[in-house]
Amino acid sequence: MTVFHFFNCAILTFGPHAVYYSATPLSEYDTLGTSIKAALVYLGTALVKLVCLATFLNVSENDNFDPSQELLKALIGFIDVAGLYFALTQLTHRNISQNHKFQAIGLGWAFADSVLHRLAPLWVGARGLEFTWDFILQGIEANANLVFSISLAALGSLMWLRKNKPKTLIPIIYACAGIVATMPSITSYLRRSLGWHFPKVVGFELFTSLMMAIISWQLFSACQRPSSA
């Protein structure tokens, strides 16, 4: 029963990544290499973040929201953005269109994030006898995270790879990118300061991820129109 439950939660957590890869044209253009490179960049970014966290942060035992600590964590979170910038711009990819590049990088990024943060608790916890809803919620959170990563990658590619953007849209792009990048801080604020329970936080994440996805899709297509026109 319990290995069954682990299998279920694993499907929920990692299935959408595989589905995304196979359903969209990414599989046709064989962008697996890009995704893998993005995953490796994420690993490096995560290590750098760990070192920074260890150096600058002191872990408090209670669950309270400490503004200075959270600010520090948000700043360290921007290392994520730097990593994404590196993956988008500095790495050499095969000749794939921009459209697919950001999707592949976002996918690889999200997959590495899920594996790193969610596989170990799943393996140890979901195989036990006790049943909790936590792992299912974690899987839903992984889905929301996938959408977030792809949106961030889209906004990032808009910011750094596309040179001719409509002037009016630029602040919106940067604002959305800022929101998505600080998503972890926002969720921890909700969880600790406002005392939201895990299901509520996951619901909020899902909702905002869908919103962000729609907004970034609109922005992307809006920015694409001048070049096509």
């Binding site: 279920n8 499907i11 929920l12 260890a54 895990f198």
Partner: protein, 551 residues
């Protein structure tokens, strides 16, 4: 909530360990650079340094492993197993220890299959007749001991944490769902090793000696009165004994009030096991002169809760002068206290090895002895052996206090020669008053400690506490231990931890799989339509165009 905190802790501790290992490596590298000239030494150094760097990596691995939550039960409860023992080779008690079944309460629907379930029953709801049919658990302690049960039986103390479990189980059963592998519910797991025989169960006796005063020129030994209480099986005798010891130590501490009797206090064990502690160990250790000087012995038994009637049990005939004197002492004080005391005489049956009262052990060694107790008949073997019925609420500290007053007054009048006179030595309100809070606190301690004799080791803190208390009140304390052999063999694994898990049913997992499968299929089709939507429509159009071509 815990997951995210765990994640944070993992991250920070992992990063700290990473820092540590990186610093170690860095320092190691600088060290090797410095020691370049000495090749041989550096090679050994290098080995050591490689080992040290390995240690930090191993530490990192352990920390990561430890940070991930390993315990996952809804609650873990301390439980105590029903005792398992053999009498002369006949196996009795509960024979098994480990447990891994679904839980059920007494309110299950009839016709349900109860094999491989665990019944969780609060003691209050036990019904002897019904349970006899099921052969599971019985209502009063001493009956259980005579059954051989092929099932593990565990007892747990009630507290808020534990009480929610039967309530939840009842709710589950009331909804008609039977807790098996297919439906959800609770699963109880006790992982205990196979019970093994306790190799040499020891029993411990503590004895305290309070010397009387000898006037100069008195060559004879002073007579001795022995008082005996059992600390292991009946809680009250020991507490009464401690209080009497305390009162007499106050009296004896002053040379002017020291009586002309020695007092010997004995806390013995092995009571239900045929009073083995008293017989072999304690009395056997007395040498002949001591035995001759003992005037009489009083044993305290089952004095925890009684109304107004007590019995003095003797084995010598009541016409005996000594017995008459003891009885008169006690009954004169009892009259003043408003207590009725009766005398019961039971002859010793020498051929029967079973001993009914403790004083019989004394009588076998030719010492005058009596037992003061509440029941009028002797308890059966192992009856009232403590355990469930030994609860704190069954014992009244006022009754213990009254017994103490009774015994202490009668002893005091005997020692100081005030028999028949209307003088109260241990008057309430004086410095020699009985202290109910002292009695109460010792009763609390004794009722909370599991005290089955074979499982108490020599250095048990409980034994040490009793020894220290007696040392405070008496001049000399001796602790004796002996291996309990003979009729009884005990098995270990008495205490275990019960893990209660809330499990989901298989149908839930299957349902979840179905939901997830459909979600993924929907996601796949959505993405295909969104990203390659035009291709799909053209896919549908192509066959029709082909048809037109062929036609």
């Amino acid at each position: 909530m815990t997951l995210s905190l765990t994640r944070q802790v993992v991250e920070v501790s992992a990063s700290k360990a990473l820092l540590l290992s990186s610093f170690t490596l860095y320092s190691l590298s600088t060290q090797t650079l410095d020691r370049a000239p000495a090749v041989m030494a550096s090679r050994k150094q290098g080995h050591r340094e490689v080992l040290e760097s390995m240690y930090s990596v191993i530490v990192l691995v352990f920390m990561l492993v430890a940070c991930v939550e390993l315990g996952d039960a809804a609650s873990a409860v301390d439980v105590y197993r029903l005792i398992q023992y053999d009498i002369s080779g006949v196996p009795l008690g509960s024979r098994f220890a480990s447990l891994n079944h679904h839980a059920s309460s007494m309110h299950f629907s009839p016709g349900v299959d109860l094999t491989r379930t665990v019944l969780v029953i609060p003691i209050r709801e036990l019904d002897l007749g019904f349970v006899k049919v099921l052969l599971m658990v019985l209502s009063s302690d001493h009956y259980i001991l005579w059954w051989i049960l092929q099932y593990p039986v565990y007892f747990a103390f009630e507290d808020d944490n534990v009480n929610t479990i039967p309530a939840d189980i009842k709710r589950n059963d009331a909804s008609g769902q039977q807790a098996t592998a297919t439906a959800g519910g609770f699963k109880l797991v006790v992982s205990a090793a196979e019970p093994k025989k306790v190799a040499s169960p020891v029993i411990t006796n503590i004895q305290g000696w309070l010397s009387g005063s000898k006037t100069d020129g008195d060559t004879n030994q002073l007579p001795t009165i022995a008082i005996r209480g059992s600390s292991w099986e009946w809680c009250c005798g020991a507490v009464a004994l401690l209080e009497i010891a305390r009162l007499f130590s106050i009296l004896y501490s002053n040379p002017r009030t020291r009586g002309r009797y020695n007092l010997l206090f004995g806390l013995t064990s092995g009571g239900p096991y045929n009073y083995n502690g008293t017989h072999k160990l304690w009395l056997g250790s007395f040498d002949q002169r001591l035995r001759e000087t003992i005037d009489y012995a009083i044993c305290l038994n089952s004095i925890g809760s009684w109304d107004n009637e007590l019995y003095v049990h003797v084995s010598k005939p009541p016409e005996n002068a000594y017995i008459r004197q003891i009885f008169e002492d006690i009954s004169s004080v009892a009259e003043e206290l408003g207590v009725k005391v009766g005398l019961k005489h039971k002859k010793i049956n020498i051929s029967n090895s079973r001993v009914a009262w403790e004083h019989e052990q004394f009588s076998r060694h030719r010492m005058t002895a009596a037992t003061l107790s509440e029941p009028s008949v002797a308890p059966g073997l192992l009856e009232r052996a403590g355990g469930l019925s030994d609860g704190r609420h069954f014992v009244n500290e006022n009754s213990v206090a009254r017994i103490v007053k009774l015994v202490a007054e009668s002893l005091g009048r005997h020692i100081y020669g005030y028999q028949g006179k209307n003088i109260e030595i241990f008057d309430d309100g004086s410095s020699l008053a009985i202290n109910p809070s002292y009695i109460g606190s010792w009763l609390d301690l004794l009722s909370q400690t599991p005290r089955v004799a074979p499982f108490l080791l020599k250095n048990d803190p409980f034994v040490m506490a009793l020894k220290k208390e007696l040392t405070d009140h008496t001049d000399e304390v001796i602790v004796q231990t002996e291996v309990l052999d003979g009729m009884f063999t005990f098995y270990d694994s008495t205490k275990a931890i019960l893990n209660v898990y809330q499990v989901a049913s298989v149908t839930f997992d299957l349902l979840l799989l179905l939901v997830l499968g459909s979600y993924l299929i929907v996601l796949f089709s959505f993405l295909v339509i969104v990203t390659r939507g035009l291709d799909l429509i053209s896919l549908f159009r192509r066959p029709s165009s082909r048809k037109i071509k062929t036609a």
